[in-house]
Symmetry: C2
Subunit: 334 residues, 2 copies
């Protein structure tokens, strides 16, 4: 099976490539923008035995079809700002005979229609895929362990904290599905050879945790006491309204877009409780628990112990630097 991956050097894409390599039996093709073909991250892929192929998402239909020819399963793990570039990609995938397209889901469970702007952009892509009658799997993954815990007063886990300045949405008692970023690729390796997931929405997740439970366990494991700061629904809504007002005049301001999207996320998983298996089932998802009850996932406790032992790995390094710089300039991040 020949598996094409768009965005193979990103956080999700890396997990997917590693999961496919670990499972074995896949020919992996990293579909890489021409300017990135010689970048160190791409060369690392080559060293792992992965074919790299030039794919310019803005190029002609013919170019896209050629780049996708021979690919059985196409996985898109592109950045949040590039979602609509998947429209011509899907059209080309249909013509190229791709047997399954996994468009860029890889977020929490969120219903379409105004809860979150990023989710609604994905819906535009999903609708296009469905109009094409292109075989697909929509894959959401819950919220990563890697961005689910706060810093400690001692500063000893700052190196691994995914979202600096984290606060608790709502009352902190809403359970949300969490997944270790590294497990995502392992789930993908199972899903793309599984007929039960064809033309379905799938939620993969490891464990359910509330924010308060996360603070509790981190206090227990670290021996440190955490301050808990709560943001009410009204506070989060005001933050979105504030971002919207400013985005009207600065539509390309990345930090404003981040403020909006992250507050929408917090309302969805932290207040509404969307990111939960029961609600996912209601929306039509099948979950990894039904599909792969034997899956040996990394537990959240094991992950936190790793982080406390200094062996964790931060995510979104570039983004974190951007946020840190913006914080210094007085920006709000959530």
């Amino acid at each position: 099976m020949r598996v094409g991956v768009v965005g193979a050097t990103g956080e999700t894409g890396s997990s997917i490539v590693n999961g496919l390599l670990e499972a074995g039996g896949f020919d992996i093709i990293a579909l890489t923008r021409p300017a990135s073909l010689d970048k160190p991250a791409t060369l690392v892929l080559k060293e792992k035995g992965i074919e790299t192929r030039s794919l310019d998402l803005k190029a002609s239909h013919e170019h896209l079809v050629t780049a996708l020819t021979g690919i059985d399963v196409l996985i898109s793990a592109i950045g949040p700002m590039e979602q609509l570039a998947q429209l011509p990609l899907a059209t080309a995938a249909k013509i190229a005979g791709v047997k399954r397209f996994i468009p860029c889901g890889f977020i929490t469970v969120i219903p379409a229609g105004g809860i979150q702007a990023l989710r609604d952009q994905k819906e535009v892509v999903y609708n296009h895929v469905k109009q094409l009658y292109l075989p697909y799997t929509i894959l959401d993954v819950g919220w990563w362990y890697q961005i689910s815990f706060p810093a400690l007063p001692s500063g000893k886990i700052d190196y691994a904290v995914g979202i600096p300045g984290q606060r608790i949405p709502g009352d902190g008692n809403v359970p949300s599905a969490l997944t270790d970023l590294r497990d995502i690729g392992r789930y993908v390796a199972r899903i793309i050879v599984d007929d039960r997931t064809l033309n379905k929405m799938v939620l993969v997740y490891n464990e359910l945790w509330t924010p308060n439970q996360i603070y509790d366990i981190l206090e227990r494991l670290s021996g440190e006491k955490l301050e808990r700061q709560y943001d009410s629904l009204e506070t989060l809504q005001a933050r979105i309204a504030n971002a919207d007002a400013k985005l009207a005049t600065n539509p390309n301001d990345f930090m404003l877009a981040l403020q909006k999207v992250s507050s929408e996320y917090l309302i969805s998983w932290g207040v509404r409780g969307d990111n939960a298996p029961e609600y996912a089932a209601y929306l039509g998802y099948v979950t990894s628990k039904e599909l792969y009850p034997d899956f040996a996932y990394i537990t959240f406790e094991a992950y936190l112990k790793e982080v406390l032992a200094g062996k964790g790995k931060g995510v979104y390094e570039g983004l974190r630097q951007q946020i840190a710089a913006a914080l210094k300039q007085g920006h709000e991040t959530q």
Copy 2:
């Protein structure tokens, strides 16, 4: 089980009421706009033993909640121009404790996202329902027998022709799922007591027919020869573009809206082939063939014989008069 029906005197609503009465065991409540409570059609419902209850879709949330209190299953069969009135209706249904909402689907299988404006309005309602976490069934019914056949040169079945001036979309060889309007209520009576249909999309249909097959059988049964006039995809698209251009200045022109929506329908079921069980399954529908293989539906041939014997019943009488009047003024209908 207490079943509330909005639009109980319409074509679909009447079929639903009759199907529920035939099945028996349901307390039916016709939720009727205040101005229609004393109309003849409403009085006919009362004579059948159906409770009528005032429901003003434009009234306050509190009024809607009160009107829906005690209703287990709420079925909405409202007109095509009123779809968005279901938004506050669904919100009230959630608060009133409705156990299953059947929003106004009752059309052919059409994917969301720009294929048909009416379908996309329904999607807005469906998304709202899902955000409410309100138990639902989305029910589509294919294309009615009653609007699936052309007039005969002799004029003898004009009395029953659902769409005057009908032409054939595309090459006329695309199969489409057809249902007798009278069977819809019979399907509904099964669906609303069936857990397998909860939080699902369901397609009920009787038989698959292509337009050319319909012309063939009508020629055979009638002994008359039919002229076949075909509209290409380009012709249909031009008709939509023409309607769109005029709707920009006359947004409330009913005939223009009809021209647009009917051309979009023809492209969807007649050219794209959306209204077919395989595509429905791809979109996540379960079909009546899987659910109720024993269902004794009316065959299309039996229906046509009824019409030829002068025993058919026309539909949309008011609409047909409106179309006839508009045709006299030189309007295009398709």
